[in-house]
Each structure stands twice: as C-alpha cells, then as structure tokens.
C-alpha cells in the first residue's frame, strides 16, 4: 500500500525526554567512545561543557521515540517490515547534554515514489522545554515495493 501523501507536512505531538548522565555514558560506551569528556564531568567541564555532552549521534534516541509516534499513525500506511534506512542527517545548534529537558516532535517531511519504492523522510525537531533549538534529525527511509503503479508502466 502506498504511503499517504496527504500527511506530508503533518507534525505530530512531541515526546519529552530528560537527559541523564548515566544514559549518556551508556550510549557513549555502546558506540565505543572512550574520550573522557563523554564520561567524566570534570573532563567535560575542563573542555568547556556545562555538563557531560552527548556523542553526536545520541539524538537518534529522541528521533526514534518521536518516530514511533509518526510510524504508528495508521493513516500513514507504513509497513515497518518493508523499511530500510536510507540516509541520516543531524543538524546541530549545540550538543545535547546531561540535565537537558528536551522535547522532540516528528514530522513527515517528504514521501515520494522512487521507481517501485517510496522514500519517506521523517524530520524530528529537538528543542529544550523552554523552546531553545538543539538539533534537527532527518531520517530517510526506503519503503520497499510500495510505490503506486505508474501510468503506462505495466503491471
């Protein structure tokens, strides 16, 4: 079933996320990051960070949660078992850091056919609860074999 083009531009309710130091350390360990600024508060402060910073790809944790709200919308028509991750982009205003109270809201930024497949771009805007922009996360997913048949292209 093709994706519902009418949902392009739709913004979904934000999820809230409180960033804890142990979560940041756990994520840094999981990606093999050993630089002390991601593990030790004193090292982080000495490097000019107010608290432990997140490794750059940590924002994907928020984008996954915001994405669940979007992908779970039955109107979108996304069959997650057909999905392959195509591209990923992060645009940062500043690093996420321990103590941040964040909001992440997902939006269907694009849905377009590419041959037999469809490309779905989910854009997640991450801000603090006070509205300070932190980062934008764009995930482009390939939905395999769901494009609508085109005129004259046969069965």
């Amino acid at each position: 079933m093709p994706l519902n083009q009418a949902l392009v531009g739709k913004a979904y309710p934000a999820i809230s996320y409180e960033v804890g130091r142990e979560k940041l350390r756990e994520f840094a360990i999981a990606v093999g990051e050993t630089d002390p600024i991601y593990h030790d508060e004193a090292a982080a402060r000495a490097a000019g960070h107010p608290d432990l910073p997140a490794v750059p790809t940590f924002a994907v944790v928020l984008s996954l949660r915001a994405g669940q709200v979007v992908y779970g919308d039955p109107d979108l028509g996304l069959d997650y078992s057909r999905v392959v991750h195509g591209e990923q982009e992060f645009v940062y205003r500043r690093p996420i850091r321990a103590g941040d109270r964040l909001l992440a809201s997902g939006k269907v930024a694009a849905a377009e056919a590419k041959g037999r497949h469809e490309l779905l771009t989910l854009e997640t805007e991450v801000t603090t609860e006070d509205g300070e922009p932190v980062c934008t996360v764009r995930a482009t997913l390939l939905s395999r074999g769901t494009a609508p048949p085109r005129h004259g292209s046969g069965p």
């Binding site: 999981a30 090292a43 490097a47 750059p56 944790v61 991750h85 992060f90």
Partner: protein
C-alpha cells in the same frame, strides 16, 4: 585528553585519523539497548534470515556512530560539529571490521567541510556520501 586539531590551520586535502571498529554481536546487542532500536534483524539470525538477510546485520546508526567518532575525535569537541550526514549503502555483519576514512574537502572562513565514508574489509562502502560540517 582528546587529540585536537587546530581548525584554523586545517587545509583542503588533510586526512582524518582513520577509526577501525571490529563489530561483534555483543556490540549490536549493547547498541540496541542503549539506543532503543530493537529491530530483531540486529540480534536474531532466525528473524534476519526470514526476511532474506544472511544473518544479523549491524544497525546503520552503529556504523554512523563509528564515523562520528572519527570526526569528533579529530575535532576534539562535539560542539564544533554543526551537521553530520551519511547514506547507508551496504550492510555489514558481525565479525567484520568497519573502517571510517575522511578528508577535508572545503575550508571557508572558519567553516570546514569533511567528506567521509566507512568501508568493510573488502573495501565496499557501508556508509557513503558522508558529510560533516564543522565551525570554529
């Protein structure tokens, strides 16, 4: 302390120190837990084979995190990174070594563009069209 590059002295053509990561199954299980991405194709051979894969494959975002380590380790400061982008172009299985490689492509008024990719042991690009924008 982290190695820090002096971004004012960076020149087009400078290469970043490579980062190599041998991906073990445990790494993927740990990453699944830390990231919240529990897609079973990353931890169950049975489910991975049922959808036509040879067995479990690494999370694309795990590979991207390895490449991000190369960029942030080179820059020394995650706050210098303003944008990070990749295309996922091939899958990589546990037991394989992923190597991230990057080069300075543009330097303009305190802004640095690094182009990078990550490849498997056969030289096939797992991540392609990688771009990192950094600022002083």
């Amino acid at each position: 302390m982290s190695p820090r590059v002096d971004l004012t002295r960076v020149q087009v053509g400078d290469t970043l120190p490579e980062v190599a990561d041998t991906i073990e199954r445990l790494d993927l299980i740990r990453y699944a837990g830390a990231s919240g991405d529990f897609n079973p194709i990353h931890w169950s051979d049975e489910i991975a084979r049922a959808v036509g894969l040879p067995g479990v494959i690494a999370h694309g975002m795990y590979s991207m995190a390895v490449a991000a380590r190369m960029v942030s380790g080179w820059a020394g400061d995650p706050a210098a990174i303003k944008r990070l982008k990749v295309r996922f172009s091939a899958m990589i299985e546990p037991g394989q070594t992923l190597t991230a490689k990057g080069e300075v492509a543009e330097v303009d008024n305190g802004r640095v563009l690094v182009r990078f990719h990550a490849e498997d042991e056969k030289g096939e690009k797992v991540l392609s069209k990688g771009e990192a924008e950094l600022e002083l």
